[in-house]
Point group: C2
């Protein structure tokens, strides 16, 4: 037996027991005739004590143990004189009578502490050591706990977890697939799933009624910071439901998770149309922990001779409470902020509503004080507030002001990390136009149903067709999205048609799904949550990488094992592949 | 709202309630003025009734509904006059006042019944319809239930489920990898994991102590019947354990699963060395639901002038109780059976212990009745029994007799499908010699630890080194296997050396694991269960395919979606790949 107990469970009630512990040397201290070692395992830390006077040989041996050595000790539990009440084992220590070194350790390349001295790259390369750090370890345990809670909640509601294949058919629609050459079917490829979308729809056609799966998905995209080529989804689908049924059910799941995992009571899940989200927050994932809604100013701001406003499709602004005292420097900072390429604005107009009731703006020469006051009134501004205004093309201006709004929220401390404000964004457009390829793409995916009342407009006014599609947003982060699906072959064909996908392509790529629609497909819909992202929300950390045991870097590499890598020529030969040197 | 209730929940207590049901038309019957429809969903079947006299229009509409139409009905629950007590809803029916056809259905290519008229290929192509059949649906639900039970059991024992990557480094050791070309790292490839072996070991080094994962694994092997290119493993690893700790813990899991999922009490998990399993059962996965152990006859059978025995390395036999009355034809059948290429024996010697006490054998001219009696005594045979004897090279003869033993078990009805006899096979050899490539391979995998007492023989007598490796066998089916792992860099290097893997290869393929061993790797070990196989054992069906929602056929193809398939030239270009036409 390598241990009788873990390092997290012994306490005052175990005094005088003979125990065997195994674990890692977290730190050791020599205090005169005594040596103390903190022995660590996943469950906690237990103090070991060695006495130079009573057993000098053993004490010498203990003094030679380096950090992260793996040892087994035998000894007796004793009450400590100097108690540490911060940890559950802090009232006891082990008077050791035998040490066995199970494995030595080189000095780790960074400290195994909450505040480590290791940089990102180094910690990724030695991920197995980074995972020893409390914070990262706890993230993994949190992830596990959430997955258990989710599975049991859905199981209690008669959802069935069904594993769908990872080696599937490659489809050109959507993001880029990772592909897998087939040796048994030379020159043909499988794809790794971007989501189990068609399979879960087929399961509804099979009558499973309520399906879920916590499942890996793959996208071969150019990686932005915090995007991973493989990620995990909580994928759900239900039959005989309407949008409202789905929203209600998953509000229940989220309320349950917040209560169980964080002790937080979520009271409400407000709903907002996509159109309002764009109009008032300039984002399809508004952070509604704070207000600062957009105010439209076209009527008051245009035709006063200021060409930036006059030529704009849209003039909108936000009111930052209590910021009228911002200095020139602070205002300039904001201007610089919005001009950054990531925000992309040309500039920013401000109006200060001074404490003395006067108004001061960067466009004073075009506006009378009365006109400025009228604008201030529209903002609902009061003395001491700062109004920030942008103008230009509608969508671009909304986006830029949306980013500025979040920045002001940060500056004013309005984005409280202990507050959770979920929001359903609904009524997404069915389609979005892509300037580059000059065609429509499905906003959600090609299987999303248009709203029945908008379906007649599909070919006459495609842009105006709204979908029965919805996103769950928490604190400005999209954590899930879904839709009611098309379950009618003709409607699905119409959808492919408006997307400009040829009949031949449709038949070869999606023929099996369209066929399935002809054998009694029930109305159905679903939702998928980004599990990595959900974990990061619960963990209160921005980066999803911290919640993935072995993440890849921004080049899609695992620097620890050095993957991807070259493969042998005979492997290529078997796969009937040859490499083209990269230009 | 598409339904107020499912088709499985209404009963006599719901009489007179107005309800809405949705589901599929299972069958309909016209009986004079009445039409009855069985409406089906996942939860059950509810009878709908239409009366020609009271509502002829609706009744006409109902009569036009085809099988597998998806409909919504509104109506009132009423007590049936003609009750069906076999189903929970059989005391009631719905007097329908409104039908909405949600979707029509073509006539399915096979009947959606327990005994369908569809063949394997047809059912795979229309898998979404096959999954509507009770048997297949129940298999999926069983699989789900098992996964929930397993996760909660392991969670209660402090196991943490950690997701390991699917895009990993390709390693030439073991079976053939599926590989995934990397677009961002041209000419380099990821592999799909054959198992999360190295990752789970790294997690032990990280201190997670108890890990599990229900995880997909991939092997690009030539598919035998009932092998799938992707399969699911219950993958487990523990630190600070010895073999006995692991066996005990997973006996607990199995006992729990049999109790919860099948109501079966498993009393014991006997252990047998690999050597004994081969010696007495000719198999490393003996079916111990019945005896019929091998008896060695070298001493009694050789040197009697029968060259087949005299020249053999091993003469062994089994005793089939009560089979002495087998006819010439029956014996010939057995001889033909063992001569089939799958069994590969040259022949079979029999000795009948007749009811009258005489002995009759196919080698009477070489053996006296006394000598035959002596052999019969060694078998412990009694009057009425039949002894079947084989001779030849040790391993081959054991294997062949092992197959014959199972065949005799079948013929004698000794393999009761309601009986579950688990068995641990332990002390596997560490290595096995491969004649073809003229080298040793790891019997389990290269990370398996030799028994400490055998380690000194690693280079001097590699064949005799036993491993701390174990398989769990139930009813002759291997459902899991594992080992205590190497956690010492030098021992791991020795292992690679005996496997003939060069230092360069070791460093480039496994360098990160060997490095990790230098930073405080704890003693650890684990086990993995084949989840598809486990489900099939619980489902009482031989084929694992019946427990996979969307399996592939023996050519690795998904005939439903027609994957794998060709991909576009621009996809190949992006991946810097070109195809070589198959010779």
């Amino acid at each position: 037996m390598l241990r009788t107990n873990t390092c997290g469970e012994l306490n005052i009630s175990n005094c005088n027991q003979n125990v065997i512990l195994s674990g890692w040397v977290q730190r050791s201290r020599d205090l005169g005739g005594m040596t103390f070692i903190d022995l660590r395992d996943r469950y906690g830390i237990t103090q070991l004590v060695f006495n130079m006077e009573t057993n000098s040989e053993l004490c010498e041996k203990a003094r030679k143990l380096g950090r992260e050595y793996v040892i087994q000790v035998k000894g007796t539990v004793a009450e400590r004189s100097n108690k540490n009440l911060k940890i559950p084992t802090g009232e006891v220590e082990i008077i050791v009578n035998e040490i066995n070194i199970l494995n030595a350790s080189k000095t780790p390349p960074f400290t195994i502490e909450d505040n480590t001295d290791g940089g990102d790259e180094l910690r990724l390369k030695y991920r197995y050591l980074d995972l020893r750090r409390n914070q990262v370890k706890q993230n993994m345990v949190l992830r596990h706990n959430l997955s258990i809670l989710i599975r049991n909640y859905l199981n209690d509601l008669s959802f069935v977890e069904i594993e769908t294949p990872y080696l599937i058919k490659s489809t050109p629609e959507g993001a880029r697939d990772f592909v897998v050459p087939s040796r048994m079917n030379p020159n043909e490829f499988y794809a790794l799933p971007q989501s189990p979308q068609t399979y879960k729809q087929l399961l509804m056609i099979s009558g499973f009624d309520r399906y879920f799966q916590i499942v890996r998905c793959f996208r071969d995209e150019d990686l932005r910071a915090d995007r991973q080529p493989e990620f995990t989804q909580i994928d759900c689908e239900m039959s005989f439901v309407e949008q409202e049924d789905i929203l209600n059910l998953f509000e229940g799941l989220m309320t349950f998770l917040f209560k169980e995992a964080k002790g937080v009571e979520i009271k409400e899940f407000p709903r907002m149309t996509w159109a309002d989200a764009m109009k008032y927050y300039g984002s399809d994932k508004p952070d509604i922990r704070f207000g600062m809604k957009f105010v439209e100013l076209n009527d008051l701001a245009q035709n006063k001779g200021f060409s930036v406003f006059d030529d704009a499709e849209l003039v909108i602004g936000i009111c930052a409470e209590g910021c009228a005292q911002y200095t020139r420097k602070q205002i300039d900072e904001l201007v610089d902020f919005v001009k950054r390429p990531q925000v992309g604005a040309n500039g920013l107009v401000y109006i200060k509503y001074n404490d003395d009731g006067t108004l001061k703006s960067s466009v004073d020469k075009f506006f009378t004080p009365e006109q400025l006051l009228e604008i201030a009134k529209k903002f609902g501004a009061k003395e001491g507030d700062l109004m920030l205004i942008m103008a230009g093309k509608e969508e671009k201006t909304q986006n830029s002001l949306g980013v500025l709004r979040l920045e002001m929220g940060n500056r004013l401390g309005l984005r409280d990390s202990n507050k959770y404000s979920p929001l359903w964004v609904v009524d997404f457009p069915l389609l979005e136009w892509d300037e580059e390829t000059n065609r429509f793409y499905a906003k959600h995916h090609p299987f999303t149903a248009p709203k029945p009342e908008d379906y007649p407009k599909l070919f006459t006014s495609p842009k105006d067709v709204r979908a029965n599609a919805y996103d769950l947003v928490i604190n400005g982060v999209e954590i899930g999205g879904g839709s009611i699906r098309i379950y009618d072959k003709e409607m699905q064909n119409d959808m492919f048609k408006v997307l400009g996908i040829s009949k031949e392509t449709v038949n070869s790529q999606f023929g099996y799904l369209l066929n399935a629609f002809e054998y009694g497909a029930p109305p159905h819909g679903g939702i998928a949550f980004g599990f990595d992202r959900l974990c990061s929300i619960f963990g209160g950390v921005e980066s999803i990488r911290d919640f993935i045991a072995f993440p890849k870097n921004n080049n899609g590499r695992d620097t620890m094992s050095d993957a991807p890598s070259l493969i042998a020529q005979d492997q290529l030969d078997e796969l009937c592949l040859s490499l083209i040197p990269k230009q």
